[in-house]
Structures are given as structure tokens and as C-alpha cells.
Symmetry: C4
Subunit: 249 residues, 4 copies
Amino acid sequence: MAAAAAWITRLNGQQTRDSLIDDVVTANHILAAQEIVDAFGHVSVRTAPGAGKYLISRSIAPAQVTAGDIIELDLDSKPAASEKRTSYRERFIHGEIYRVRRDVMSIVHCHAPALIPFGITKIPLRPVYHNSFFVGEGVPVFEIREAGGDTDMLVSTPELGRALAKTLGSKPAVLMRGHGAVIVGKSIIETVARSVYLEVNARVQAQAMAMGQRISYLNEGEVKKRIEDPDPYGRAWDLWKRQVTQAGR
Amino acid sequence: MAAAAAWITRLNGQQTRDSLIDDVVTANHILAAQEIVDAFGHVSVRTAPGAGKYLISRSIAPAQVTAGDIIELDLDSKPAASEKRTSYRERFIHGEIYRVRRDVMSIVHCHAPALIPFGITKIPLRPVYHNSFFVGEGVPVFEIREAGGDTDMLVSTPELGRALAKTLGSKPAVLMRGHGAVIVGKSIIETVARSVYLEVNARVQAQAMAMGQRISYLNEGEVKKRIEDPDPYGRAWDLWKRQVTQAGR
Amino acid sequence: MAAAAAWITRLNGQQTRDSLIDDVVTANHILAAQEIVDAFGHVSVRTAPGAGKYLISRSIAPAQVTAGDIIELDLDSKPAASEKRTSYRERFIHGEIYRVRRDVMSIVHCHAPALIPFGITKIPLRPVYHNSFFVGEGVPVFEIREAGGDTDMLVSTPELGRALAKTLGSKPAVLMRGHGAVIVGKSIIETVARSVYLEVNARVQAQAMAMGQRISYLNEGEVKKRIEDPDPYGRAWDLWKRQVTQAGR
Amino acid sequence: MAAAAAWITRLNGQQTRDSLIDDVVTANHILAAQEIVDAFGHVSVRTAPGAGKYLISRSIAPAQVTAGDIIELDLDSKPAASEKRTSYRERFIHGEIYRVRRDVMSIVHCHAPALIPFGITKIPLRPVYHNSFFVGEGVPVFEIREAGGDTDMLVSTPELGRALAKTLGSKPAVLMRGHGAVIVGKSIIETVARSVYLEVNARVQAQAMAMGQRISYLNEGEVKKRIEDPDPYGRAWDLWKRQVTQAGR
């Protein structure tokens, strides 16, 4: 019930600024504890439904983020004039996706090793179990060479951010060839949980494929029915938050 | 000796209510520590041999369960009228199996990643070593589409619970396609240990299969001889219980 | 230097009884921490070079063993008349190997998952790197069906213990089909380190084989040169002992 | 910014001796925590750009190294006459590489299991993602049999050290058949981070190869662009250092 309440509060955009900042800090710590990010990777939250601002850490490792490290950026991924600190070089991932995806309230960028093989081969991710049902909505692959030729692989300009957002389209996640992934959602709880279960899906799918037989994925009807679940991940957020809080991160 | 005594006490149904509740809490924590469950999954115990009631947590993550979270449900998976809290949406897994399996005293439901590949391919689990001998009794796969067409994959109705119980039949465990598994036993010690070693069996079998040669599984005679062991897992319960108690869960 | 001294002290049999008991307790904790054993498995040490007695824990999980749990057994794996406690059902593994292998001062029995695939297929373990060079001396596989027909898989009689010792022959380790492995050495340091690196070898060999190309194993000459190293593992024992001592096990 | 400053300080050789020793101790602990080394393996740092001396621990496990264990060796890998302690038998790896690679300021030697398969097959490591871009500069394999015939596999003489340095050439790392790897860099931060991401690259590449399709590696142009990044790993060093400091190692 606490979980459902938290979920609804976030969906309705009824959060104070302190609560939003707490969410971003918690999400950073959860993603590190779940090994979705290591020293690199980032997570942001939009300040309110429809708002043109988002909160993200300055450029440090997720496990080290505290409330004092959170910066507000606009959709051009620029801070207010008074802000002297800078965020991640790839902050444009966030700004450009928020610009075109009004439904998106939170974004994760990660380099989880299990996801890499699906970005560097032509094998599509497909949904292996109910917790990763959203994979059935489609997870496209961003080929940065098509957008920018030979680059340093980083989405470090607005142009590359826009190209990435275009490949993402209306999907829940996009893989980045030779780099990682971006995961989005209509709340920070959903985005973080999708990040965790996208990684599990990749590991399980690779293992199932190695067994050399036809695989029965969730079908379209099952994915649609799962989408109707109003709160598929609240219980996970509650647990993960408690775990990182107890660990004293 | 302590272990054997614990085992016999449970088999004879000579437990106080407090002891039963302590067992369910401990089992939740063990399953989380052994990574058989994550934020999701549940474990229950029948209140006494032949009884039409079982104990299970309200709807929270296994690692967070305390004695105060345990609810008593009947075989329709309904609590007493005075109980305001609800248990898991998939509680019918428990009620419907207890209804038809008089020998079952405890049930685990989990989504351990290593089990998923065997539910989404046609490759049967087979017993790779003595600790998972019970796999030799057979582990069928539940295809929820046959029972309910396209669903949200959850066993959230009595009808789906009955269909799952039917597929389980007299076996020690059943895989659920695109979802996870249900494991049963004649005591909570047996059910938890079977859950742990079912997962190990899946990992080892997948690894052995990847080596591309004929595999020598336990044969029928060996499985039968192992079944005669009166207490194959008591030592494991003792260790796991101590570990979760020390961890202060 | 401390390590080398420890190594020599053990090889020369210049240990007090308290020191031997401390070694067995430490070895139990190391094997648990290194995940070579779980709730099951055991380790023993011969009381002195050529002696007909060995020290082993009573029947509890390795991580729980303390000095007070250590029992002395003879080569028939029987304790003194005054001893009321019993050791593991598979204690005959130890007694029967000590009987025929005068060079062996310590024995480990484990069920490490990575070893199981090599016991249930016809693929021999071969040495992939210098730390597991002893694999090059040969690791045979014990098929208990040849010795006892269909059994409960346990080496729970003197006869089965003798059959296992015969398959082991003069080798450093023997795999047990559908069960696990037994590792021996001329000191407890060597036996524990061999247990750890046998497991690494199995994981690495399986991974290398999965890559589908010819593998270049250590050759006979290299294995022979490695055998001449007087103290290949002392540094590891020092580290592992400190780790389990600090963990307060 | 702290990270960038640390990076530049090291590149310019503006470190005090205490700071250098602290770096070596920290690097040892990071490599152990990241499971790049176990009880074996070592890391060194050159005392100053162009200097003919380097700092390395005496012969103990990396996790146990403290400031008091650090010894200074010359390019013949000999200590000052007053130094009674000895370093690792394979110290010649360090001395001989520093002798011919003026650009190298730090060296790691490890036996990470994931690297072994690429040393014992003919499959070259190739760069799977941006964090391991340096793999694209080439990672040759050292076959010790060509340099020394059948040996005990250890680089325990100046001659073998020179042969290894020759195979390394101008590359960032070299695999050693049936043994492990050596990783070099222009600062200790770079060398440690390369060690971590070389291991990730091996795991991911093996997984991608197992999926049986053409793999799209970083191309030459992308590798070149990544090389231009002045500080690709400072954030990782900051995090890892904090983690090992907090763990009280």
C-alpha cells in the first residue's frame, strides 16, 4: 500500500523538490547496488509532468551522489546562470529525450555488460519473463555511426542526443552499439525497475539462446495485459531503497 | 542432531504457532539471501498436517518480512473477516496446491533467472547431482496460455491456481513458462532446500549442455535411493538460518 | 617468509595438536568463503606424517565449524570409544584415502557446481593456467555405479571409500559423477588451494571450450616444472586465513 | 574536477613519494576488490617520468599490502643494498617493461579468469565498448615456450621479462598464454582502469561470440577518437579509492 501510494504520488507529480532530489539520490544508489551502473552511468528525473527542467547529479560516480550534488538543467541541458558546476558530458541524452517524450519522467543511462552483446550483434532483445514484459514493446539499437560517423562513442552534443531520441522513438529503452543503453519511464520507480529487469532479460535470453532450441517469448497479447498492471514494480523500489539506506550509502 | 530433531518436529506437525511463523520469516530471508527470490516471490507453510489453513506474508518483498507481516489464509486464499491486510495477488498458487496435495506442508514461488530458460524451451530439467535428486521425479512446465489464453502471466485467480496445481500433479516442482517456478515439500526445510538446489541444477545442467556431449544424469534407481534419505537438507537449514540471523535481517 | 615457514612446518609435521585443529577450522571457513563448499562438504587433516588418525569436524556445515567440533578418527573412520559424537556419513572418503596414500596429509570433499559438468560428461579436466598446473597430473572420474550399482550417491561405506581411493590412485584429485570431487595434498595448504584452483580451472576450461577453437593447455614439461615449485600457494593461505579471521567466522 | 586534477598531477609527475606509495597501496586494494587479482598478482608505479626506479610491494597478496610493504627497485629489479626484503619472483615483468617503454608509468600483472581463454586460443581480444576502447590498439599474446621452452610459466628472469616486453611492444596490454596478463599505462589510474575494463571486455566478447553472429566492434576511427579523451577514467579511480578506503583495507 505504501508502495502503491508512492507510485501514484509520483505519477501525479505531487512531489516536493526535496522528495524529487531524494528520489534521484536513491535511484543512483540503487542502480549502483544492483550493478546496473559502475563508476559511470547516470539517472535523471523531470521536475514535474510537462516541465522543461530535470534534475541530475554533477559529474561523479552514481554510488557517490548525495543531495548536494544534484543540479537542475533545462531541455538544452544547461543549468541556471548561477550554477557553476557541470553535469555529465552525455547530459544531452536526458534533455533531448525529455524534449520529445512528454510521457517520460525519468531516464537512466548505463553500460551494463549483459546488454552490450545485444547492441553489437543483430539479435533483438525479446521478453523472456513477466518482469521484463516491456521488452516486448521493442528495444531498438542506436548506431552512432549513422548519426555522427566515427566518434568517441559519447552522446556529447545536442545533435547526437536528438538522433538517439529519434531511434528510441516511443519505446521503453534503446541499446547503444558498443556503448550501453538508455531506459525511460513514466516515473523514476518504473525507469529504475526497467533498468534492472532489462539486464536480467539480457542474461536470461543469452542463456536460453545458448541452449539451441526455439524459445517461447511473451506474445503480444501477454505484453499488452502486463502493461495494464498499474503498479508492477512498487514492491521492488521499497526493498531496494531500504537496502541502500541500510548500507549507509 | 539438532537438525534432525528440527526436521522430525516439522514432519510430525509438532510446532507451536510462534515456531511456524518464525519458520516462514526465516524461509523468506533465506530465499532472499540465496538469491532465489528478489523483490518478488513468496513462501508459505500449512498450519498443521491436513489443515485447511496456511501462513504467508502480506504483499511485501521477502527480505522485508517480519513476524508481524504473516497472515493466515484458508484454502480459498481468503483471510479471516477481521483481517484487513491482503497477501500477494498470486496467493492462489498456495491455496489451490494445498487443497489437492495433502502431503505438501510448504510452498515457494520464485522467478530465479537460471530457471527461466528451461520454462521457455522444450528442454526438461534433469538431475545433475545428488543434492538435486528430486529433479529426477520430474519437473513439468505450466503453460498459462492453455489455461487462460493471453493473460498478464500472473496466477491471480482460483482457476489459474487450480490449473497450475494440475500441471504440478504429484511432482516436487513445476516451472511456469515466461514467469518462474513453484516448489513444494513435506516441510518448509525441504521446500526451501529444493528451491535452492533446483536453481543450482538449472545452472549446472545449462553449463553441461553447452559442452556439447552426452550427459550422464542420475538414473531412476539412484533417485529412488536418494528419496529414502530421511533428512537430506537439515544441515543446510541450520546454516542458512544462522546466516540470515547474523545478518540481522 | 611467514608463508614459507608455515608451509615447511606443515610438511615436516612439526605442528602441535592445537595448531592442527586451528588449521582444520580455518580450512573449513576458507572453503566456505571461497564458495567451494556450501552447507555440505568437509575437510580433514592427518595428525602426523604416517599416522593412522585424522581430524575432521562432526557433522555440521563447514562455515559453522569451531575447534570444539573437531573429532579424531582412525583409518576405519571410527572415533575413540569415549567419543559420543559422529562425523559425516561420507567420512570413509577420508579414512580409506589416508590408508593407501601415505603422502596425503589433508583431504577435501566438495560439490562445487563448476566441477559437476566435467563429472557427468566424458570431457577431461585439463590445465588451463599455472595456478591449476596439478590438473595436468590427471583428474580421473569416479563412477559409483561401477562400485556399488544404483546407490544414494553417497560414499557412506568403507567399500565405496576404497573404490573411490582406487580411482583416485596417485592423482591430486578425483571427480565423482553426479556428486562432486575429492582433492588431496601433502599439506592442508596445498589441498585447500588445489580445491580453489580446480574450481577456477573448470570454469575457465568450460568458457574456453565454448569459444570453439583448439585450446593450448599446459604441456607435460610445464606441469613438471611447476611441480618443482616448493611453495606455490603459501601466499594464498595467508590471505584467505586473514579474510576469514577478520570476518569473525 | 578533483578527478581531473588527480589525473594531471600524476601525468606531470608532480607527486611526492608518500603520494606515490599511497597510490600503489590503493591500486593493490582496488585490484583485489574488483577481483582482477586474487592472492596473486602485483602492481607497480615508476617513481617519476623517465626515472630508472619503480615502487612495488614485497611478496604478499595485494589485499594485504600496506605502505610499509612497498620496496623501491631499479630497472634490473634489484633493491638498494640496504633493503633486506624481496619482491615478487616475477618482478622482472616490471623492470624490463619500464626499461623499454619510457611512456609507461605503471604496470599491473594479473590472472583474471576471464582473460585466460583468450590467451589459450587464437581468438584475439577486440573492443566491444567504449570503456575498453584501448583493446582496439591491440592486445598480443606472449607464448613463453618461444622464449624459454618448457618453463614453470613464471617470468622469473630478466631474459623472460625482456621477451615479454618485446611481445608487448607499444601496446596497452599483453596476454600470457596459460598464465594471465600484463597491463600498462601512462599513469596508475589508467593502468588500473585498463585492467578492470580489459576483464569486462573479455567477458562481454565471449558472451557475444557465443551468440553466433557477426559482431560489430569499435572501428579504428572510433578507437582513435576515444584515445583523444584526456581523462577517461578519473571518475572510476575516485569511486574505487573511496570504496576500498571505506572497507578499511
